[in-house]
Each structure stands twice: as C-alpha cells, then as structure tokens.
Assembly symmetry: C2
Homo-oligomer: 186 residues x 2
C-alpha cells in the first residue's frame, strides 16, 4: 500500500498553510490557526513538518515556468511575459502569494524571491538579449512585475485591483518590452 493515511492530513495541512500564510503572512500566521483550518491537531504540524519554519519552507515554493520560445517573436516578448505572469499568479496553488506576503519581513521568503529572479527570470532574459545588460534588464522587469503583484494581489489597491487582465497586459506589456530591448543608459 503506497498510499499512507498520513498523506491526506499532510496535504490538508499544506493547503491550509498556503491559505493562512498567503492571507496574513508568516509572522501573524500561527500553527494553531493553520491546524484549525485543516481541522487537525497542532501537534500534527510538528510531526509532519518539523517546525513552523519547515512548514513555511515547504509551502513557499513556486516555479515561474517562463515559456522558452519568447525569442520567436521578439516584438511581442514583453506582452507575452506580462500575460504569463498574471496567469501564474492567479492560480492559487502557486506559492507566490505566500512568498510575496512575507518577503518584506521574512528573510527566508526574501531570499527565495531573489533566487527566483536570478535562477529563472535572469536566464530567460539572457536568452533574449545576451548576458551583458541582462541583470539590469531583469531587475527592472522584476521591479515592475513585483510592484504589480504587490499592489494588485497583496495590497489590493483600488484602481489596480479593478483593472481587467487585458488592460493590465496592454499597459504593462510595453513596459517590459522596453525594459528588454529599449535603451539602457549607463
């Protein structure tokens, strides 16, 4: 029997943890809260994930999963990147909300975001524009894209949260396009 009974509760804990971490952040989320949402005993969290940090490390994980063919239509790369980011964020099982909600006050979350930038976004940018100016260009893209996620999904600032996906893509896309291929004064 490869399906143990504990796998059910383990994944229930994971789901509850993602929800609680994403909505109140690491510091305000308590193990008792998470256990309550998952309808299990707080001690189960410790048994299966070792500690609160262990649970967070398990939960705060996500792949950017950028398409590899952005270079096929370079003049639409910015627009396609914008659409991809929104698509990734709006699937709620992605651990992105967890990370961003806690990044400002939790060093582990901040380090993970930095890792996503350097290990996933940067290589994609290098593939498009070469290694020379890629770090700055990737950094600028990150600033716009994380800012959008912060204002739209974390802070829910009125106007930004109210815009449609299409409007967001049409507005942000050209910005990313310029950060990829536009001038970069040194």
């Amino acid at each position: 029997m490869t399906e143990r009974k504990s796998d059910r509760t383990k994944s229930a804990i994971r789901t509850a943890a993602r929800q609680v971490f994403a909505s109140v952040g690491y510091e305000r989320a308590t193990i008792r809260d998470i256990a309550g949402v998952a309808n299990i005993d707080p001690a189960m969290v410790m048994r299966y994930f070792g500690s609160k940090d262990g649970l967070f490390a398990d939960t705060a994980n996500f792949d950017l999963d950028l398409p590899t063919d952005l270079g096929d239509a370079p003049d639409r790369a910015g627009e396609r990147m914008a659409a991809h980011f929104i698509a990734v964020w709006e699937q709620d099982d992605s651990g992105f909300a967890v990370l961003l909600r806690s990044a400002a006050s939790n060093p582990v979350a901040a380090a993970r975001i930095a890792a996503v930038l350097s290990e996933q976004l940067l290589p994609a940018v290098v593939a498009l524009v070469g290694p020379g100016e890629a770090p700055q260009r990737a950094g600028l893209i990150a600033s716009q894209v994380l800012g959008l996620a912060l204002t739209r999904y974390v802070l829910s600032l009125g106007p930004v949260a109210a815009m449609s996906r299409e409007q967001i893509i049409a507005s942000i896309g050209p910005t990313l396009q310029r950060y990829l291929y536009g001038p970069l004064t040194p």
Copy 2:
C-alpha cells in the same frame, strides 16, 4: 519653559522606532528592542505613545510632497516624478520604509499606503490628465514606483540595488511618462 525634558526621550523613541520598524517590520519589532536602541525603559514607550500601535501610527507617516508644477513641462513629467520619488525615499527620516516594510502583513500600514495613493498621488495625476482616466494611470504609476521601492530598498535585489540613481531615473521615467500620457486600452 516650553521645552520639557520628556521631549528628548520622546524623540529618541521616535528615532529608534523608525529604525527598528523600517528594518524588521511591525510584527518582528518589539517594544523592548526599540527601547533598547533608544536606551530607555520599555515602560516609557507606553507612557508617551500609549501602545505599540500608537507608536507605529505616529512613526509610519510621510508626505509624498509632489511638486505642483509638473504640468509646466508635460514631456518631462515622468522623469521628474521618478527623480522626486527616489529623492523622497533616500532621506531616511521619511516614514516610507516603515510603511512599505510592514504593508504586506499589517493592515494599518496597507491602509496608509492606499491613502497616500488616493490623497496625494491621484490628485497630482488628475491635475495633469484630468479626472477621467486618472485612477488607472495613478494605479499603474503606483505599481511601478512601489515595485521599485520594494526591490531596491526593502528586498535589496542585487541588480536593482546596484543601479545608480541616474540609471534608475532614465529607465523608470519613460515608463511613468507613458502611464501618464500613453494609450490606455479599456
């Protein structure tokens, strides 16, 4: 004597609070920490500010103080806004770092940022482009500008933190310019 002795310690507490809140965020900052930095007793914080929330409310306050003559040279408004934001953030007595560090996990801080957007940024944008599309345009500006602050000053992401002020302004300025006057597909 209009200068009471308590004003010294009161401002020492304020300075220490700004420093601690800005570097670890509201939840991780303890009154004992702040009192330690200010070299006073934790009870003094309670006496002069009532509670931790009271101290935070007193500390997390800042004025955007946007120039009023942006409309005099509309083609440089984006660039001047970018330069102004950077100038405001890099004076460390501005409570902006305090707000942004805590906004993702502290509702009070989040509400204050929303208030700055709607009471200070939005009117400036209305003055430039009229009331019709101003909310969306202000929201887009906020997304880029908060994203830059987050990546550069809070997360200190390598490439973004390493860029010079001039390079940042030259890169972000045109983005803000387009968010002000560029097309906005509905």
